[in-house]
């Protein structure tokens, strides 16, 4: 188990800066997920950690070792690739043995490591097959077994599940989680799938345009996004963003939500704010997750924090456990996540409850969170 520290890492290709000052501080044995839209630099960051890409500035430390300029094989890590990257001309056994033979382990040691790796992933029967004869899920297992056999200090995963079909993806996701519990090694995992990020991670680094927007635990990333990008990226359906004007009445902040029929719902804010005073009378972006607009909250303890909101149902989507209501507030489409009981038809008016404490605000210019 080793900790991973990345300090002020910069990387550019010719004139394009792809990584602009990355800082990561990951404790030993933690599972870090790098998540972000395509082109945000997450895969490049992984490549620099693996040593497949040279960096321009900064340092990478694994445990006590500065590995900034070490060659890939000397970094003590193993990597699983999106396309599995199995050597097509070798059998499963040869694939796993390849790196071990180069490292000049004894025959017995190699045999023992191959055995324990295939046992963990239950694929003893596949040892003599070639990658071409395996299914996608089996190939990914072989790739993981290959990395396990190296007994590395840290695992790197580069979108390992994105080539699998939906059902298999969920299964393999659970298996990777189990694997982490079992080997207790530090893992850096790249994905563009926020569900993978939330379910697997101890720490999430949300990246955009070459910088880490937020580095935090999954629950904090969800509950306390630090800016508009992070707030919109995590969560499905994503957070509602509504332009509102901050008002102050009776020493309390409040905002108006005008619905489609012109009825104005005034919501009194009961969250804690430090800087909201400066924004009184100004337009800001209010962020409100769909599940914080409901027709009835199960948790009775929040009952006194709920305020009423009149709205007209534009359309609704039934997902089984929930119904997504599309309503209009301040001329913006807003999704509310309500329970199917007490359903109404499209076009009808409904009185919803807003958990006012959960409304957060973002500066319209900087898009940063207003605390």
């Amino acid at each position: 188990m080793k900790s991973l520290k990345i300090k002020d890492l910069y990387k550019s290709y010719d004139d394009t800066e792809v990584l602009k000052g990355i800082n990561v501080d990951l404790d030993a044995g933690e599972f870090l997920v790098l998540v972000g839209p395509s082109g945000c630099g997450k895969s490049t960051l992984l490549s620099t950690i693996a040593g497949l890409e040279e960096i321009n500035k900064g340092s990478i430390t694994l445990g006590e070792n500065d590995i900034t300029h070490a060659s890939p094989k000397d970094r003590g890590l193993a990597m699983v690739f999106q396309s599995y990257a199995l050597y097509p001309n070798m059998t499963v056994r040869e694939n796993i043995e390849f790196g071990l033979k180069i490292s000049k382990y004894s025959k017995e040691e190699i045999e023992q490591r191959v055995q324990s790796a295939v046992e963990i992933l239950h694929m003893e029967a596949l040892l003599d097959r070639k990658p071409g004869q395996l299914s996608g899920g089996q190939r990914q297992r072989v790739a993981i077994a290959r990395s396990i056999s190296r007994e590395p200090d840290m695992y790197l995963f580069d979108e390992p599940l994105s080539n699998l079909d939906a059902e298999l993806r969920v299964k393999m996701r659970a298996e990777i989680k189990k694997l982490h519990k079992r080997v207790k090694k530090t893992i850096v995992y790249v994905t563009h799938d926020q569900v993978e990020a939330m379910t697997l991670a101890d720490k999430i680094a949300i990246m955009n345009k070459g910088t880490i927007q937020q580095f935090d635990s999954p629950s904090n990333v969800y509950e306390n996004p630090c800016n508009l990008f992070t707030a919109g990226f995590i969560g499905s359906p994503s957070m509602n963003f509504i332009d509102v004007i901050i008002k102050k009445e009776n020493d309390k902040f409040c905002v108006d939500f005008k619905n489609e029929s012109g009825v104005i719902n005034t919501i009194v804010l009961d969250g804690e704010f430090e800087d909201l005073d400066k924004y009184v009378g100004k337009t800001v972006i209010a962020g409100l997750r769909p599940e914080h607009i409901q027709n009835g909250f199960r948790d009775a303890s929040v009952a006194n924090q709920l305020q009423e909101l009149d709205a007209k149902i534009n359309i609704q989507e039934l997902t089984g456990s929930d119904v997504f209501l599309y309503i209009t507030l301040n001329d913006t489409d807003v999704i509310a996540r309500v329970s199917p009981s007490g359903a109404k038809d499209d076009g009808e008016n409904i009185t919803l409850k807003v958990w006012a404490k959960k409304i957060i605000f973002f500066d319209k210019e900087t898009e940063n969170r207003i605390r």
Binding site: A50, L52, P72, Y87, P88, G99, I102
Partner: protein, 290 residues
């Protein structure tokens, strides 16, 4: 219903038309070879009195024996056999060396890109477009300075230089289609430059090797200009010998011997293509469609 029946007839008609066209083309291209073969099996009197397209009345292999071992070419009367051997001595090493260099070059240009490697690659490709005649003089100076002018080594050298541009292009385009993740995985496994090449890339390179070998073999075996310029009397390749045989004016024209000699001269490339033609097409297509 009527429409579909009509379409069926039309499509069958166009099929027939295509086959007729293909047949005519095949006849057109095969006719010269047919004439060569039947002429090489006739004796000289029959050629003089008979029809060009008529089958031989009596089959004789004498012209082949003469072309191979007895015909007078230059000062000697040993047929084209020694020159055939020269061609083998030139072609085999030149093909192998240029393919190996091309494979390594292609590997570097696709998987170990360095600053300016694209420019370097483009410059190398110029080699594909330089006409032979342009380099005759500087090349003869170069191999003269290297002390290998007039020898088979000189010709091997020239053909390797010329062929490398093509083989590099072929191998580079083939290796580009092989995922770089594979190379990265091997790097993390601890494999170095050469180990990745011969353990990971070479085992999957058979189709492109076939393409390069056939291409290079055809080029070098059939090449005439370098062959006549950079060789001495005893190192001439078979193409030059064939020219000398056919153009010699001292004796009566023996068309049957000429034809037999020409067939012997083209046989190796023809056979190579027939044996490995399917690899050739497969290899050329590989990498074109990802």
């Amino acid at each position: 219903m009527i429409g579909s029946a009509k379409e069926k007839v039309l499509s069958q008609l166009s099929r027939v038309f295509i086959y007729i066209l293909l047949f005519i083309c095949a006849v057109y291209f095969l006719l010269p070879i047919f004439v060569m073969i039947i002429t090489s099996l006739k004796d000289i009197d029959e050629i003089k009195n008979g029809n060009l397209l008529a089958l031989p009345e009596t089959i004789t292999f004498q012209p082949w024996i003469e072309a191979w071992g007895e015909a007078r070419i230059g000062p000697k009367a040993e047929g084209i056999k020694p020159y055939f051997v020269n061609s083998i001595l030139i072609t085999v090493p030149a093909v192998l060396i240029s393919c190996i260099i091309g494979a390594l070059n292609g590997y570097v240009f696709s998987k170990w890109k360095f600053k300016g490697s694209e420019v370097f690659f483009s410059l190398l490709l110029f080699g594909c477009f330089i006409p032979f005649q342009v380099v005759l003089l500087p090349m003869s100076q170069t191999i003269g300075m290297m002390g290998i002018s007039g020898s088979v080594f000189g010709l091997i050298f020239v053909h390797v230089i010329y062929g490398t541009a093509f083989t590099t292009l072929f191998f580079r385009n083939f290796y580009v289609s092989i995922p770089t993740e594979l190379i990265n995985a091997a790097k993390i496994d601890g494999a170095g430059f050469f180990r990745i090449f011969y353990k990971i890339l070479l085992p999957v390179s058979l189709p492109i090797f076939m393409v390069c070998i056939i291409w290079q073999m055809t080029q070098i075996w059939n090449e005439f200009l370098f062959g006549i310029t950079f060789s001495d009397a005893d190192t001439q390749p078979v193409t030059v010998a064939l020219n000398n045989l056919v153009n010699s004016t001292s004796t009566v024209k023996k068309y049957n011997v000429d034809m037999a000699a020409a067939l012997i001269a083209v046989a190796p490339t023809l056979i190579a293509y027939i044996i490995s033609g399917k690899y050739f097409v497969k290899g050329l297509m590989a990498g074109a469609v990802k």
